[in-house]
Homo-oligomer: 627 residues x 2
């Protein structure tokens, strides 16, 4: 494959669909030499004539000269982000509530009368003073034990993992030893591995506070934008090892940056708690994720045993424990169990709906006594993919839209305040809602080509485009790309499918336990994307249930918050496990009512308008001009 | 250093004393260029004139041309050894007495109705059928779990470590999984790491039998012949890593050879039990042994936690458990605890003395209820070092000597039946005894230069040589080296010191518990060297206590036998631990009667002749001719 040849030559081609030939974004120009195109999807005959070829679908048949057109660069909005806000815990921190300890201890030196070996001497004293039993030690610590004891003149600081939240984690264990007395800090990290973005919080376990927050795009993005693409990539050649090393590269850089910010060495970080969806956790640990995408959608493991950092290559102390939080199923992972815990959903007795909308929409419903969950294959439309002018929520993305129901003219807000380049997810939700309530599209999502009333009728925003009907939001002369930025009938269909899948999930979850969405008292919205959703717009298109605004809570990145809580509190760590154990998983693809519910939700806001009493369509049926 | 330069150039120079400049065996000839000799010990002025320099004591001061004279090659007598005898266990083997298991199991496949993850599915069934609790799994097995389950169509064979002999080893753990049903074999190895030679026994845990035996010299020999030289070498630069990799090289080759002999892959070997002295165990695990040779002689650890093979680089299944047996002190290691167990010393109620004579003489005294041990720094004389014509027990070594008390003429037996090249340890004991009983030397070990009565008086075997008085055993014309092979007064002094140190150890051990050597009922002699000792000779020189021949038992390599017994029996493994815990260690260098006992033993057989009633001196006091 040309893409493999590029990689061997050290050229990092983006393969957003993981090399399936489906996204068309790895197109290159073959200037000289023979190639064979297995697929020319996304390429016109003229493109092929001009030498274009999809790198992931083209075999090399001899020496080639290839040029690579500029690819979409992943901008680092995450990194540029404003200073992170102080993270508050919903409980008061007590160092004794978590299982990592530092002890300073002075030993009697050995003598000809007491030739006890170094480890027995240390263990004896630790066990006696701190009431530890069956204390163990890591080989890496044994290798420096003799030197450190003597360098510290028999006064040393030891880092001990107490028996953690369950028996299988074993007896207490010494994981480091330092000469002298150093009790001033004790470092750990909480990690969230998102399919798109990775987050690292550096935590001081003495105070329990988050001391640095770092985030960046997951280095795996270049090998597939969604989990399915990544799974496919992982199954080819050494794709699994490559994906593991890409995400480790990202995480290790973030850990390094966080450590630098606090002027510490990464060797001083003794623990990591990791949340992420099931595919991300498999890839992180180097476990093949293949079976996740194949019927009947099985993970290798939902709850990994505790690992040592060296076993996965994480850049903390090499024997530091890496605790991957447990998930529930292939598509309801640790990001959701951690999210549910950090949402405190399970703490109150009120019926709550927890939603994390990303490539998949993961949903959990319940109260303190029961929980049921499902995953809706929403597709990547809300992440700006599968939409002609879709893009990530970076500079140039239209993130909110307003349409005048009289003139059908449009105004919008762009991230970074520059010229627009496309729509991000929240912009698409806003646009769909505004098109609907202003009457640019009808209940079925069809663009009303018969629309009149534009202030400049000569330049009608509705028109028949290359891909069917479309509505122009930004004209070429106001866009950063020099092209009209429009939404097409196909785009709208993708968005309708995405929102219908999610709403069908809500309905089925509720009905499966004999309830209706009307019984839901709180809607908890997790995920970074959730923070940017305009609730009114989301209700207008039928993506969120029609509830009073105060029912909705936006919780931000609930996954890393859950990892942080599990890191600093045994009780919270127990709760994640309990939730993963008690949460019922409903496989929507096996539910025979799904298709009906999905179809019913393929209208704006829904076939059953009584479910959305607050949604009023302002126009334009009376203003439409028939041709 | 020139030795380091040679190593960098890929030339494997022998450094028997570990680079201390003490053995003189790394001498090279500097043909061109400038060097600085830090020490010229072992080199005559003429040698230096001729360009000789000790590689380990010579710094390079510019470009050099160096030639390397032929060095003493380590011959592979061990490898050439006859076919190993079948090893008998002193108990009947039952696979359930050891903690490694293989189970074949068939699982219900997953479905849309049962989306249980692969690991939970396997665990659930294993726990249910085999009454396991808290079962864990290694990450390496998780990485192939999904594939193997499907390849085996849900019938698989799993290898499980049950909770081994103590709580810290943790709950049962799956360490491998194979598609299909394969219960025909289950492999493990017993390992003995001697300072000089390494032994590997491949064991089939289904039958409990030793299926292959391999031995070779420890690859570390080239970096020091005794433990002290190795410790010194380990403390320099990356000496520790180098010594670890050298011994691992030897062991891994032996394991590979054993596996090939049984046509299996080394990945099928799931466990190793390792015995060896404390320094060897430290080096095997990569733990710095420095403190072992420094007052007050402390090990880092006497009982290592169970390790995984990948952590030390042992060539068995990468997650196979490596169980290093526990030792007692710096100079009474796991070779002795294993030896005591395999000697069955502790099983009978009779008072026994266990001896393992090597570079050190390790001694244990006791019965089933108590045990006391010590180590005597005998020095390497009995291993053929520290003696002008000393050599290892390889082809050409004189291993037994007979002196005619009338003519003082000598006959001898040579290993391999060729011409003699020197004396090995058993030859030296025999020679010393024969010289004493025939009257060639007196009670103090002095060579009687006044000796007459030789059949060819012109060619008297006693003479004043370069290094003082000497006795010629083989004339130049009958030797392989073309030189006279003689024993000198200095050699005799070294041998006397060695035997005196060991006998002093016996005496002090016995006295420390209020007994005398006369109370000892059995003398158990371990170690390969022990097998070749002529007991009568050893009693004649006062190396062994004067007991009837039937009191002595020669047990061969008790260290690997102990490792094998600990491998196949939990009870035996427990016993090694109990012995290491109950055995009192007496540090002779801290005992203020040692010097007296040592001096008393510096006579043949001893100052107190009443201790050796059976030793009759046949001559030559009446035959000596005064000058």
């Amino acid at each position: 494959m040309l893409s493999e040849a590029a990689q061997q030559a050290g050229i990092d081609l983006q393969l957003p669909c993981g090399g399936q030939g489906r996204c068309g974004r790895c197109a290159v120009i073959v200037e000289e030499g023979a190639v064979r195109r297995r697929s020319t999807q996304h390429l016109s005959a003229a493109d092929v004539e001009a030498g274009y070829a999809l790198a992931c679908q083209t075999t090399v048949e001899g020496d080639l000269v290839v040029s690579i057109p500029p690819q979409e660069k992943i901008e680092r909005r995450l990194k540029e982000g404003k200073r992170a806000a102080k993270v508050e815990l919903p409980f008061s921190y007590d160092i004794h509530d978590q299982p990592l300890r530092k002890y300073a201890i002075t030993l009697d030196p050995p003598s000809m009368q007491d030739q006890t070996d170094d480890w027995s001497r240390l263990r004896r004293e630790l066990e006696r003073r701190y009431n530890l039993e069956g204390l163990r030690i890591q080989l890496a610590v044994l290798k420096k034990l003799g030197r450190v004891l003597r360098e510290g003149e028999w006064t040393v600081t030891v880092v001990v993992e107490l028996d953690a939240w369950d028996r299988p984690n074993g007896p207490p264990c010494v994981i480091d030893i330092i000469p002298g007395e150093h009790l001033e800090s004790l470092w750990a990290v909480a990690i969230d591995i998102g399919t798109t973005s990775n987050h690292v919080w550096l935590v001081d376990l003495i105070s329990g506070e988050v001391m640095a927050q770092k985030a960046d795009y997951n280095g795996q993005i270049a090998r597939g934008e969604d989990v399915i693409s990544r799974i496919i990539y992982a199954s080819k050649g050494n794709g699994l090892e490559e994906l593991q090393s890409l995400v480790m590269g990202t995480l290790n850089r973030l850990i390094e940056e966080a450590a630098q910010e606090r002027s510490i060495s990464t060797d001083e970080i003794y623990k990591a708690v990791v949340a992420g969806n099931s595919t991300m956790i498999h890839l992180f640990a180097g476990i093949p994720p293949e079976t996740i995408r194949l019927m009947p959608f099985i993970t290798t493991i939902n709850e990994l045993p505790p690992l040592r950092a060296y076993a996965v290559g994480l850049n903390i102390n090499s024997v530091g424990r890496v605790d991957c939080l447990p998930g529930v199923a292939s598509y309801v992972g640790a990001d959701i169990t951690a999210g549910v815990v950090s949402s405190e959903m399970c703490k109150s007795g009120t019926l709550s709906l927890f939603i994390d909308i990303g490539t998949n929409g993961e949903i959990a419903l319940g109260d303190c006594t029961w929980l049921i969950s499902c995953a809706c294959s929403a597709g990547p439309a809300f992440e700006g993919a599968g939409v002609v002018h879709g893009m990530r929520a970076t500079a140039g993305a239209i993130e909110e839209v307003w349409i005048d129901p009289e003139s059908f003219e449009v105004s919008y807000r762009v991230i970074g305040d520059g010229k627009p380049r496309g729509f991000c997810g929240s912009g698409l939700i806003s646009l769909l809602a505004e098109m609907f309530v202003s009457g640019v599209i009808d209940k079925s999502g069809n663009i009303r080509l018969d629309l009149a009333g534009f202030s400049k009728p000569a330049r009608s925003r509705v028109r028949e485009g290359e891909h069917g009907a479309e509505y122009v939001v930004a004209w070429a002369d106001e866009s950063a790309t020099g092209e009209d930025i429009a939404i097409t009938a196909v785009d709208i269909d993708n968005l309708m499918r995405a929102k219908a899948a999610i709403y069908a999930g809500f309905s089925i979850l509720a009905r499966s336990v004999g309830l209706s969405l009307a019984d839901v008292e709180r809607v908890l919205i997790g995920g970074a994307f959730g923070q940017y959703i305009n609730v009114e717009n989301a209700i207008q298109i039928g993506l969120l249930p029609d509830k009073p605004f105060e029912s909705f809570q936006f919780l931000g990145n609930t996954s890393i918050k859950g990892a942080y809580m599990a890191l600093v509190s045994r009780e919270m760590r127990d709760r994640v496990r309990r939730i993963s154990g008690m949460m019922t998983y409903l496989e929507l693809s096996a539910d025979n009512t799904f298709f009906d519910e999905f179809n019913a939700a393929m209208f704006l806001p829904h076939t059953d308008e009584s479910l959305f009493p607050s949604v009023a369509v302002q126009g334009p049926s009376d203003k439409a001009t028939s041709p």
